[in-house]
């Protein structure tokens, strides 16, 4: 009896050790980033490194906002990600509605094709995409970037929205039709309110993807005033002496919006229907 209790206790103990390790390995690098971003230059390079800054300062953030193009990059990121979400959602909501509510020839084939393109990696698309964009003459524009993000996100948003629309019972719509509502009214008053959580969650996934993108922006955008955050921050690296305090402050400022949105959709992720929702 005693031995059994001991065994159970040690299993619980191991479980907690594992859980603490999992939390720490994920959180520590971020905490270290936060710590570094508040350190004055002398402390950043101090040995031994201290976890809590002795003389915390906003100096790194101040320099980030005034001496670099950070605010421009931030604005660009918001604009491009926002537009990409808008376009993606309108197109994929319509597409998902079609895939679940109408019957027509080749519907399942189209769904399969979409799932196939989900597996295309950005590097395979971006090289020809870049050449084509140059041919059309829209290189170095936010428009090209929005199109690129949309094409990149569409397969998975369509797939997610399709799964979501499938869970909305058709009877509700049919009932609205019985009561004399037209298809459009049934859509606006019955389907959309029910689909709203799914639409919001999918939008956030799309936003995170667009916000985090590096490769499309690196290749399609050349002028500094059009760059988004990931590329802009990478360029902070190019100076001869790396200003780690400044870079960590920048890293924190990019992470915060992504994390806020992540917290908003986290429960969907863990509940499972969004498993595999984010590509990369």
């Amino acid at each position: 009896m005693n031995r059994r209790r001991l065994q159970r206790l040690s299993t619980r103990g191991l479980l907690y050790v594992g859980a603490v390790f999992l939390a720490l390995q994920a959180a520590f690098p971020f905490l270290w980033m936060v710590s570094t971003s508040f350190k004055p230059p002398v402390e950043v390079f101090a040995q031994p490194p201290s976890f809590i800054p002795h003389g915390p300062t906003w100096d790194n953030f101040w320099r980030l906002f005034t001496a670099t193009g950070f605010l421009t990059y931030f604005r660009n990121s918001i604009i491009v990600s926002g537009l990409a979400v808008l376009l993606t959602m309108v197109v994929s909501a319509a597409g998902a509605y079609s895939l679940t509510r109408y019957q027509y020839l080749g519907r399942e084939k189209i769904a399969g094709l979409i799932l196939c393109t989900y597996m295309f990696a950005p590097i395979m698309v971006v090289i020809p995409f870049f050449i084509l964009v140059k041919k059309v003459g829209i290189e170095n524009t936010h428009f090209a970037l929005v199109l690129a993000f949309t094409s990149f996100c569409l397969p998975f948003t369509l797939w997610l929205m399709r799964a979501f629309f499938k869970t909305i019972p058709l009877q509700l719509e049919e009932a609205a039709l019985v009561d004399g509502a037209g298809r459009v009214r049934a859509l606006i008053y019955v389907v959309l309110p029910l689909a709203l959580p799914g639409i919001i969650a999918t939008s956030i996934f799309t936003f995170i993807l667009a916000w985090n993108d590096y490769i499309f922006t690196r290749i399609l955008i050349t002028s500094d005033e059009l760059k988004t955050l990931p590329v802009g921050v990478q360029d902070l690296f190019h100076s001869a002496l790396i200003d780690w305090g400044l870079i960590m402050a920048a890293g924190m400022m990019i992470t915060i919006p992504a994390l806020l949105f992540f917290i908003a959709v986290q429960r969907y992720l863990i509940r499972g229907w969004g498993a595999g929702a984010v590509k990369g």
């Binding site: 939390a23 690129a148 990149f152």
Partner: protein
Amino acid sequence: MTDMSKPKLQPVVPSGVRSTFVLVTAKLGIMRRATCIPVTRPKRREQLTGFLTIAPALILILGLTLYPVAYSIWLSLLEKHSFFPQQRFVGLENYFYLWKDPEFWSSLWLGTVYSIWTIFFQVILGVAAALILNETFVGRGLVRGIVLFPYMIPTIVAVILWKWLLNDTYGVVNYWLVALGIVWEPICWLGADHIMLSTIIMSIWQFFPFVLLSILARLQTIPPELYEAAKVDGASAFRRFVHVTLPQIRGILFVVILLRSIWMFTKFDTVWLMGEGAGAGRFIRTLPVYAYMRTLTYYQAGLGAALAVIMFGILVVCTVIYFGLFREEADIG
């Protein structure tokens, strides 16, 4: 009307719905009102609206993903400068060039090494972590949230974080290793000897939450009775894993390994950003990085496209073999 919202009566296929609908309404005695609704809707109009609503998505996917990928096959047969419009048809010359190019073979090798190690550890760690997070303990929700952080942040942030942690002079990792007496002198993590190892560790850290998430979602749907039955039979924890858990997660494991393999083999940003500015970049010049460099460092768009096509070809062949090897799992997944 209340009858209709019972979950039992909710088939997924529209045609099924109609018959159920008719059935239900017949039961309720309102058959006359119901029959004229969906059944008599003009078929052709339905088809047209269906096509029109999927059309924008289809056009965007065809035009912006499939067409570029097809175009890259054509592009790989050209000699073309990335920025100027001149182009010349050279047939398979780009491929012959790559065949004799040692850098291509080295990038293929480095890419394979990188993908195999990262995939292997992602899957092991992801499954182990999912098993832990599927148990009940205090603070489980919080840990589940925190663990997913690394997967959600921009790659550039993950890379600057790790470059700072691994910095040879001021990095906290080296400081601890020396302070704890594990090594005598700081390790040059981003130097030629260790950069591959650093990149692999960092990639595992960044991407194993994807495996965790997918497996955890599946674990939550395994009926607890299965475990109870196994416990009654006196199966140890290990045997319960092998005989109960593993068969249940086999299908999703198949899909996850497939997706992770595709994405790790074509991983660009993590590897490129780790190598950039470190001076040892060529020791992690994997196939995607090499394709990028041919296009945008040497401006040889044709060669870049040829590399992308080769990458695509390798993936297709491997996927077919993979499906052949694990036919059973493919059916479940």
